[in-house]
Symmetry: C2
Subunit: 359 residues, 2 copies
């Protein structure tokens, strides 16, 4: 759910069409040696994020991915390997390559297994960034399934009552299809906010609310720090004990267990910068009850939530996914705004790599 | 995780042994017509909660369950019915009976399916209260599996930006076995606090922190209300938009989907008072990787978290389940403290039903 103070001003942004963003990403990834099929999978996920307003996980990150590939952080081209597999489960090795490619394959496998057996679950080791976690559950929702995805990362957040980072922002994503209403799409960091929101505030030069980040002594930070250091950490969802900070912290550890320990790829504190272990699950609704009945009840639930009387001073109740799907509808018409510093970096990378400029 | 200001003063409490609590619960349930096997399953779960310090979900509730059974809210004896079933999934009908009995059977089925196929998932309709949600995942963890349980309830919490209750406290519970360390056991309401904590504060006559509950106009309540009304609601985990209240709200809806919509039993706003739909899942670790390696990595993760330097003014970092297992170790020796008003109500119920007093 977006914050108005973290919007890139529209008159400053460079506006581009999603098809052009997709072409640009494919071309950039291919220029650094990524096979066409893998470049397309990655571009699909990044363009989906940009189109749906999740700009912290969209085209803006392509410069960093290209640099990491050029620096040899990734093994490109990558080889996915199924380390173990059963009717409903698999352990997938990402081959130290693009996390997008492994997470996409993991969700495809989860969906195939769920169609055959009801549930499919895949955990991923030796992986990297998967982008917007919510992209993968949507693959399942489009197949009339429930979809889940999680991913861990190097520590940026303290556990409740700790003064050092021990946990990544460790997002949980979940999607469920509806009938006439839009799908339900929850995509949430288990920290108070996602990492990218603090980076964005720093780039925009705006303060962050107290409660998002603290010094090692637990004092609130409102000036967004320019870089990672031991001097500050992000807060778990809930922040304080009275606010339920043990819950956000506990959810983050659950993510570490499913992604890092079930796969053996490593919990947050064991990871190198840029490493991410991930996990996907698909659940076939038809194995439980008729899909049409499920969807009709989803519609009723979503309408009941939307019809909740608004609290004073608010615009009323949204359902998870509303901001993203509403943004996508607008951006399909108007194009996608890119923050000028990010736009210039993308164009400079294209120029440097001898790639045509499509945006 | 408990709050010191919500402890029943030890010198006021009535101290009883867990074995006596168990006998008392079995006898009370049998006196209102519950078959012995079902009374034992329910007593196991309630005694586990009392022993582990989750007093809001322990023996104190037995008076209410007996009354609900006598009032005909429950169908006793109940018939569980498998409505649909596949290799890895089932939809279980609780027969309008004790939620404990259905959730216990659902987790047994989940474990059997996970042992055979890797994953087992059961959703429950036509159900009631399951007590401490974390009890069921522990059944899986004891079998070297990951365990999950969720349950929904009639609305007590507002969705973010809403002024009416639309969601139950909808807990999420998750357990994972470790090797030499204690299991990881997360058991969390998706509201800022569980319902029972506000009831307990009211019974103890102590104020609650701002942020747990609000008036319909969104103003913080610090005097715990004596009863449910439209005048106040509980907050989702995260509370405000800046605090991540859309995340706690989103998780609560996810619970409603898995428990209420996947089962067809009803999302929160469709339920009658006392109705609860539930969901369980077991995941067999051995289907992914050797259990001993998983447990060794769990130990390493738990030790890393425990060794995090303490934030100033705190007792340092705990891992989910620590408070419960530490309390259980103490209570096995010292007995279980019961708040006198609850103790007297239990004894009065035993007397009224002609049941022997064991506590």
């Amino acid at each position: 759910m977006s914050f108005p103070f973290l919007q890139v001003p529209e008159d400053e942004a460079v506006w581009v069409q999603s098809a052009d963003i997709h072409r640009q990403i494919v071309a950039l990834f291919q220029a650094v040696g990524v096979p066409a099929a893998h470049a397309h999978i990655t571009a699909d996920a990044l363009t989906f994020a940009s189109l749906h307003g999740v700009d912290t996980h969209g085209i803006g990150n392509v410069v960093g991915y290209c640099k990491a590939i050029e620096d040899g952080v990734y093994t490109i081209p990558q080889q996915l390997e199924i380390v173990s597999e059963s009717a409903t489960t698999a352990l997938l090795d990402c081959g130290n390559g693009l996390g997008f490619v492994a997470a996409h394959r993991a969700m495809e496998m989860s969906i195939e297994k769920a169609r055959a057996y009801g549930v499919g679950m895949v955990t991923i080791r030796n992986g990297h960034h998967v982008g917007m976690a919510g992209y993968y559950p949507m693959m399942a929702a489009e197949q009339d399934m429930l979809g889940f995805a999680m991913t861990n990362a190097v520590p940026v957040a303290h556990p409740l009552n700790g003064r050092k980072a021990r946990l990544g922002t460790n997002p949980i994503a979940f999607a469920a299809p509806a009938g006439q209403e839009r799908p339900f799409l929850l995509d949430m960091a288990t920290t108070t906010v996602a990492n990218g929101k603090i980076n964005l505030a720093q780039r925009l030069g705006v303060p962050i609310p107290p409660g998002w980040a603290v010094t090692a002594d637990g004092e609130a930070i409102t000036e967004p720090p320019a870089s990672r250091s031991d001097a500050w950490t992000m807060t778990p969802l809930g922040n304080t004990h009275e606010g339920g900070g043990h819950k956000g912290y506990g959810l983050a550890v659950m993510v570490d267990i499913l992604c890092g320990v079930l796969s053996g790829g490593g919990f947050g504190a064991q990871l190198q910068a840029g490493e991410n272990m991930s996990w996907t699950m698909a659940v076939d609704i038809a194995h439980f009850r008729p899909v049409a009945e499920f969807k009709a009840q989803m519609d009723e639930m979503i309408r009941t939530l939307h019809e909740t009387p608004a609290a004073p001073g608010t615009n009323g109740v949204q359902v998870a996914g509303d901001p993203e799907f509403e943004t996508a509808a607008i951006r399909r018409e108007r194009g996608i705004p890119i923050h000028p510093p990010q736009y210039e970096a993308i164009v400079a990378t294209a120029l440097r790599l001898g790639v045509e400029k499509y945006i």
